[in-house]
Symmetry: C2
Subunit: 354 residues, 2 copies
């Protein structure tokens, strides 16, 4: 493997000294980029794209070519590859979001669920290898998965949502069934992330997009406990280097103390929490990644720089901060505004690392 | 006016001793009740219903007739009556949610916005008077309004949403324009709630349904500050009695300390926060209302009673707790499950008030 030329991101995740605050953007390879929209014109469905290592490699590298400030690349893929490999029949209808042909609501269906053969996800590992090769050591590559709870909401509801009434009904009326789904998901995700690491991922992130919909007690029981199990099962080093892990529960900032105790190296933060207060709450247990509201990228370069300054100042001096948005960049973002954010982080963050 | 026969709810809001923990349910007059669906068959659009004092009275009393355990009634209305009175042209399309004909995105439109003549909202005050008369002193009547920020999201976006990109873009690119909308909203809501109090509302609640979508700093600037202004402008006593106020930011439990300082008597809590931890954070500054996940009402009476017990135990001994859901009851709730929750609160809460 080629030598890594920029390990600022990996160092920050491990709370080691860096010269500046590294930065990347969730969903940085995406529809806000004209070059991405151009690449998509000749491709098929969204799942076709994820299954095409050449396309995944091309679009993963697009933001890096446009923005030299980026300190990490992230695999172009989707969290729903896993339930798709479990045979639930995923499709993306235009403007409608994901849909599954089959849902897990009947006891018989749930009891048949098992860890799928990782060969069904070989296309993901192929994309990781291909991207890693194309990166040629420029920046580290992040692999990822959805959390067991987040995947379960899609598997039970059969689609995206916000209130997850069927999944929560199961959580309270038949917790045994939901725990079976979550356990299968956790075991699958351990194999899935470890295979990404084996294929070349240099850090991994677990996206718990819907953990914030749970009650205080239910979050620990149905989401956090299973993420802890995954973190414990992850490959800790590859190519002689530590592979750091990031856990991100959107809407989960009330529970940072509990998150900081599950063994992950870093926590993702959405924009609802002040990052300085978050740092005070987790101490030096974990690094923090975040947390600008992506909506701010729709405003002006001046407002963006002001917000970057505010977040950097709130985190304060010292290491362990990876700058990011608090959620994926929206498709309506003017690319020059994303550039303004990245430039501001590079310019303003050096002062906090002296 | 008739003597109030059950003031448990009002006492709890003012953290005075009560014999048990009072309880009501957000959206308790609603589609989960067969008698409500029956009443709606003969009526027109949702706004027609809100404008019909006879209908509003009938459905407000339906849950009280079914569930003798309820300790409060809430005006049947909608938070969007206010922007409708401002001339934005509200309609509810079947299965689509609210839509406005006109939005506030252009500077000229925004600068023309002003406090509407309260005569345009007389139908709301008529409904309050009518319901109060029909209640005949059984339980207190709650009046309500949306928060300035929450109403602004509908006024700028023209519809409901979850990410509020246009409103947030304005917040960062043209804060002066958004502050004008929020100021007009706040002044309007003060008049609106005070007119509800004059018509007979015995407590008032401000629903900040979308404050939780804001960043830490933006929440204070664009939502909380304006709710503070409203609370300061509210009529404090009517008919010789204190009129308590409740402020509820859904998704806002990170900011309870700041909310507790704006002068409201009580704070609403959604289910993401442990109510005992919330109580420890706000001390004896405010009462707390909440906070069971409405999804639990889809499960079983046994699971519901267990969750009621857990919430009551977490709040612990002493006064100042109004039991409620953490959000409106869903239309899929079996009415007997709502009854199971109410019965459990009555049965289990006495032990905490000895």
């Amino acid at each position: 493997m080629t030598t890594l030329q920029n390990d600022t991101f990996l160092k920050a995740l491990m709370r080691q000294p860096t010269d500046y605050t590294p930065v990347w953007m969730m969903r940085q390879a995406g529809r806000y980029l004209p070059e991405y929209r151009e690449s998509r014109k000749t491709a098929g469905s969204f799942m076709d794209l994820c299954m095409n290592a050449q396309f995944a490699t091309e679009v993963t590298l697009q933001p890096l070519d446009r923005y030299p400030e980026l300190d990490a690349a992230i695999l172009f893929s989707d969290i729903l590859t896993v339930p798709d490999a479990m045979g639930l029949g995923l499709s993306f209808e235009a403007g409608e979001g994901p849909k599954f042909e089959r849902t897990l609501q009947q006891e018989a269906d749930i009891k048949q669920l098992s860890v799928p053969d990782m060969a069904k996800l070989q296309y993901v590992f192929d994309a990781v290898s291909s991207i890693r090769k194309a990166l040629n050591g420029r920046v580290p590559l992040i692999g990822f998965s959805g959390s067991p709870w987040t995947l379960a909401t899609y598997m039970v509801e059969g689609k995206g949502g916000t209130d997850f009434l069927n999944t929560k009904k199961m959580a309270y009326a038949r917790p045994d069934l939901l725990h079976h789904i979550l356990e299968v998901n956790a075991q699958t995700i351990i194999q899935y992330l470890n295979a990404q690491i084996a294929a070349g991922a240099q850090a991994v992130m677990i996206f718990d997009s819907w953990g914030g919909a749970l009650s205080h007690n239910a979050y620990k029981e149905f989401s956090l406990n299973y993420m802890q199990k995954i973190v414990a099962g992850l490959t800790k080093t590859a190519e002689g280097k530590v592979v750091p892990s990031i856990v991100f529960t959107k809407g989960g900032a009330l529970w940072l103390e509990a998150q900081a105790a599950i063994g992950a190296d870093a926590l993702g933060l959405d924009w609802t929490v002040d990052i300085g207060q978050a740092r005070a709450r987790v101490g030096n247990k974990v690094a923090l990644q975040g947390n600008m509201d992506p909506a701010i990228l729709l405003s002006t370069p001046e407002a963006i720089e002001k917000e970057v300054a505010s977040i950097l100042a709130s985190y304060g001096h010292g290491h362990g901060h990876v700058f990011n948005l608090g959620h994926g960049i929206t498709q309506w973002t003017p690319p020059e505004n994303a550039g303004a954010m990245l430039a501001a982080v590079k310019k303003l963050s050096k002062a906090y690392h002296l």
